[in-house]
Amino acid sequence: MRARAIFAAQLTFTLLVAAFLIVPAVQSMLAGVTANYFRGIRSGLTLQWVQQVWQLYADTILRSFVIALATLGVTLVVGVPAAYGLHLRGGRLSRVVEEIITLPLAIPGLAIALALLLTYGGLSSFRRSWLFIMVGHVVFTLPFMVRSVLAIFAATDVKTLDESAASLGASPLRRFRDVIVPNARPGILAGSLMVVTLSLGEFNLTWMLHTPLTKTLPVGLADSYASMRLEIASAYTLVFFVMIVPLLVAMQIFAGYRNDPAGRHQ
């Protein structure tokens, strides 16, 4: 009897927590397709707000994808070889390097953005292009890629594989391409999903780094929250959810997110 009461109390508590998280998300999704939020769902369902979002903000959505993919490209080119180098080299220096590249996760995005602005804000053509935002995203997401690949190297005894390939006479470049990268694939995939998800949702850095001509999706969201009617803000949020939730699901399937939930984002 007592055990049942405890179970019921715990279940009720957890359901309340879930409601706190889910109810506002569902509210916002519904508001995005409701003709008039203040009259409620009775006023009818409509896609007009989503259409208006597309007219108003399509450029921010596309720009966010461009920046996310470019960020992914850079973190792949820089991060995967770096993880291999750090793993093989080992020693104290590698640990220090790993420590330094992980620092951006411990420092608020606002501080990093300010630092980038104060250093490169004067280079006006760089400052005005979307590359400036991409640089911020690379600094912030690179540690996820490197750590994700390093975790795979640590788990798969890649050193032995590498040495066997070397003893068969394969050159370093060939070993990297034909042995290391294929073996690191799960880590690369997990890291890539993380990088894209984080980049698409990044706001703290981006708000400081953007210009009126380089707005991204989350910047546009903040803009719409401040200045648009609630239905449009909600429809825009709905568009964001539709993009980000599949990535999150994929991340949980492929990345073993549950084992390292802290190793993340924004």
Binding site: L21, Q27, P108, G201, H265
Partner: protein, 288 residues
């Protein structure tokens, strides 16, 4: 993983045109360039500029000496502490429950609790407005029940709800993973020795969860200290440190102060996470 005997990589390297050591250097070069140019150099400059204002290096002391900044720092720390304590309490109760019990709908419940993982701070601010803003659900409910509209969204309470929203999914996942690794034989032994459920929780389960609690608590704390998006969306009369930095920089063009404050904020969040790593295991912050 990193220690071990020196590697005999001369074997392959000797036959190829490029030695192994050279190849490793090439692998690390892009990283060195990117990190030096876009992180180390800018951060050094930030620290430098923080000390280059009217007050020189004393700008850093102003964070704790100047009443307005000190008040903002205190508010931010208290808010982060409240968020951390509340998140840990909620997540421990729910995490233990979800990992220990099996019931229909459990997987769905876990999915619902982890869905917000990818929501950035700005979006969470908007959700808090829908929940507890002027036209919010909470207002409607309290109006119907007590005849008065409760509006929390635009104050510290709203920010607290936002940070709670952000932290709960992460901390629940960490705690569930830690509960999964608990050794059930310890609890069995305690039970056969006659320990009650409360004593088992106090003396066995909670101490075993301590590293996970410290690690995830530190992340919740550091995130709440540095989060900008949620405060930005809710902003009416909230003067937490990140908002203060933002207004000093953009509205007052007080660049040296903004730099000094953000260096101070960065040091605090970094120190919290470093301490937690010493006492609790691996931690990486979340950027809210």
């Amino acid at each position: 993983m990193r220690s071990g005997p020196p590697r005999a990589w001369a074997a392959g390297g000797a036959q190829s045109p490029m030695t192994k050591a050279a190849f490793i250097r090439i692998c690390l070069l892009p990283l060195a360039v990117v990190v030096a140019a876009f992180f180390v150099l800018p951060m050094t400059r930030l620290v430098w500029i923080g000390a280059s204002g009217r007050h020189g290096i004393a700008a850093y002391a102003a964070i704790v000496l100047e009443p307005r900044y000190a008040a903002s720092l205190l508010d931010t720390v208290l808010l982060a502490l409240a968020t951390t304590v509340a998140t840990l309490l909620i997540a421990t109760v729910s995490g233990l429950f979800l990992q220990r019990r099996r019931f229909p709908g459990r997987a769905l419940l876990v999915a619902m609790l982890t869905l917000p993982l990818a929501f950035p701070g700005v979006v969470i601010g908007f959700l808090i407005i829908l929940l507890a803003g002027r036209q919010g659900l909470l207002g409607d409910i309290t109006l119907a029940l007590f005849g008065q509209k409760l509006v929390l969204a635009y104050s510290l309470a709203g920010l607290f709800l936002g940070y709670l929203y952000f932290s709960i999914p992460r901390v629940i996942l960490t705690i569930m993973a830690a509960v999964e690794k608990l050794d059930p034989s310890l609890e069995e032994a305690a039970r056969t020795l006659g320990a009650g459920s409360w004593a088992i929780h106090r003396d066995i389960i909670l101490p075993a969860l301590a590293p996970a609690l410290i690690a995830s608590g530190a992340i919740a704390f550091a995130t709440a200290m540095g989060a900008f998006g949620t405060a930005f969306t809710l902003a009416t009369d909230i003067d937490v440190l990140p908002m203060l930095i933002y207004t000093e920089f953009t509205l007052s063009a007080n660049i040296a102060t903004a730099a000094a404050l953000s260096v101070g904020l960065g040091l605090v969040t970094w120190a919290i996470l470093a301490l937690a790593r010493i006492y609790g295991g691996n931690t990486v912050a979340a950027n809210g």
